[in-house]
């Protein structure tokens, strides 16, 4: 049953050195505040899983939290490279990063298989690509009914899923709306789940009968962090801060500007900083 905890306590209780951690979010609802707390608590030797590692994973990798990355598209969308990811892969800084590379379809299927309690996922995928040559975990199976050869990948079963959602109610049930990505699957595939939310409400109020709700008994802890997805966005709360994604290109390109930014904006800050960033952005508009 979900406990409502301050973010630092929730990370302390749920994320351990050496864990495989899926901090998911598909442009929308990326759990930046939780990721920053993991950096502040100096978690090490993590296996980071995510379809679209972007700025947040660039930060975790650059700060040396990760030994391994399981992913399908690692870039700053619409802007360019992730320079900390590239520095780790191309030059081994701050240390060597092992990569396990998939396609989006395979990653999405692997989460779904994990949520469904299956050992692997099957898809019509990877045909004619070189990815199976560099990722030995991509294998194949012959359909027993048609004889068609289909690709397989192992299910994702992360130790921890970390997501940001819109709201929780007093019992710790969690509501997501808008672009849902693979967050529901990641939470249901994981051993433990940490969810940050914009707010806690008495009642979710009027909503679709088919709304995406994660029941409290699927979530280990909820932490209330208004603005916790910033600079990504939370549908109905604040917009994506696209200008910052462009700015990150300059910050992350060099090691010293990156480290200075991390010190000023992450290491010496608390989760409260996120609400202030959203207020500043909204005041500027």
């Amino acid at each position: 049953m979900a406990r409502v905890l301050p973010l630092a306590e929730a990370v302390e209780a749920i994320v351990r050195d050496g864990d495989s951690v899926a901090m998911e979010g598909f442009t929308h609802l990326i759990p930046h505040a939780a990721g920053h707390e993991i950096i502040r608590q100096s978690r090490k030797h993590l296996t980071l899983i995510r379809m679209t590692p972007d700025i947040l994973y660039d930060q975790l990798i650059g700060m040396g939290c990760a030994d391994r990355l399981v992913f399908s598209w690692g870039g700053n969308p619409g802007v360019g490279s992730l320079y900390r990811l590239r520095d780790a892969v191309e030059n081994g800084w701050p240390h060597r990063l092992e990569v396990e590379e998939h396609s989006h379809a395979a990653m999405a299927n692997a989460y779904e298989a994990g949520a469904a309690g299956l050992p692997f996922a099957v898809l019509r995928g990877y045909i004619g690509t070189d990815l199976p040559k560099v990722n030995p975990r991509i294998k194949s199976v012959t359909c027993p009914y048609t004889g068609e050869v289909l690709a397989t990948v192992p299910a994702h079963r992360p130790d921890v899923a970390v997501i940001h959602a819109l709201k929780a109610d007093r019992e710790g049930n969690v509501l997501l709306e808008g672009i849902l990505g693979v967050q529901k699957e990641a939470v249901l595939a994981a051993e433990r789940a940490l969810v940050t939310v914009e707010e806690v409400v008495d009642d979710f109020g009027p909503r679709s009968l088919n709304a995406c709700i994660l029941p409290a008994w699927t979530v280990s802890a909820v932490a209330v962090v208004p603005g916790g997805a910033f600079p990504s966005y939370a549908q109905g709360y604040y917009k994506r801060f696209n200008a910052f994604y462009k700015e990150w290109d300059g910050i992350a390109r060099e090691r010293d500007t990156f480290l200075a930014w991390m010190k000023e904006n992450v290491l010496t800050k608390t989760p409260d900083a996120f609400a202030a960033r959203v207020r500043a952005l909204q005041a500027a508009e």
Partner: protein
């Protein structure tokens, strides 16, 4: 009189013209997104645009910077989860055109978006495949839009991220792929289509004022031409106005980097 236009503009407009009102298009971010939305804002108002973030039949007023911007969700008919998008809609065969770009392409329109140099010790680590490996084989056909250069149009790819026509001929069919693969490659210089037999990408149309020498100088293989090569129709004033307004609205919405 033909209005002045930039190489990027004729590339985007020529690509947009290839899309039909009845198409269901799986759209990549960047130039494919610009071309697909231009088609929707000009000759194909009923076109269905799908982004891999789960947004079905989206009608954004500005171009998204990322594949899951709020604008895409707010203007969509409905938004589904990402596993559903890849399983039911893409793998299920509901998409007629996949629209891709890439860092490297070869003469059979195979694409590389993974690495430059060896995989284990890359010179440049590119973002990776994302949705492309399955888009390339699951959509009815594939359009590719890429600015032409010797660095991008290479004799041999460092890595095959997504399948085009493989090694040519009936290679796709031999791999069991039932879709058509790349049927059109639009660049800033010309338009390529696959030769019906060899499936090598062959120039069928050259943009106004561009020479065969320029095309060859920006291509890492010996370029072949169709028996009849047309001149690409230049952009019209209304196409250019629609594209420029779209880019201006987008720039205002995204803000400048501080």
């Amino acid at each position: 009189m033909t209005p002045d236009y930039k190489p990027n503009e004729i590339m985007t407009i020529t690509a947009a013209r290839a899309l039909k009102n009845e198409d269901v298009v799986f759209v990549g971010i960047g130039m494919p997104s610009a071309a697909a939305n231009l088609a929707r804002l000009t000759h194909a108002p009923g076109i269905t645009l799908i982004y891999e973030s789960g947004t079905l039949a989206t009608r954004p007023s500005v171009l998204p910077l990322s594949i899951g911007d709020g604008e895409l969700c707010e203007t969509a008919l409905t938004t589904v989860s990402v596993p559903e998008m890849f399983r039911y809609w893409l793998q299920g065969g509901r998409v007629s055109v996949g629209f891709l770009g890439g860092a490297q392409i070869d003469k059979f329109a195979n694409l590389n978006t993974t690495v430059v140099g060896p995989y284990d010790k890359p010179k440049v680590r590119l973002p990776g495949g994302g949705g492309a490996p399955e888009i390339a084989t699951s959509c009815g056909e594939i359009f590719i839009i890429m600015a032409q250069s010797k660095r991008g149009f290479v004799g041999k790819l460092d890595f095959v991220t997504s399948l085009g026509h493989g090694e040519g001929g009936r290679h796709r069919e031999k791999l069991g792929v039932k879709t058509r693969g790349p049927t059109r490659l639009v660049t800033d210089l010309c338009v390529f289509e696959p030769d019906p037999e060899t499936r090598e990408m062959t120039v069928v149309s050259i943009h106004p004022g561009i020479t065969r020498e320029q095309i060859q100088d920006n291509t890492g293989w010996t370029v072949r031409y169709a028996a009849k090569v047309a001149e690409t129709a230049p952009p019209t004033a209304s196409e250019l106005a629609a594209l420029r307004e779209l880019h201006a609205r987008t720039a205002r919405a995204h803000g400048a980097a501080a």
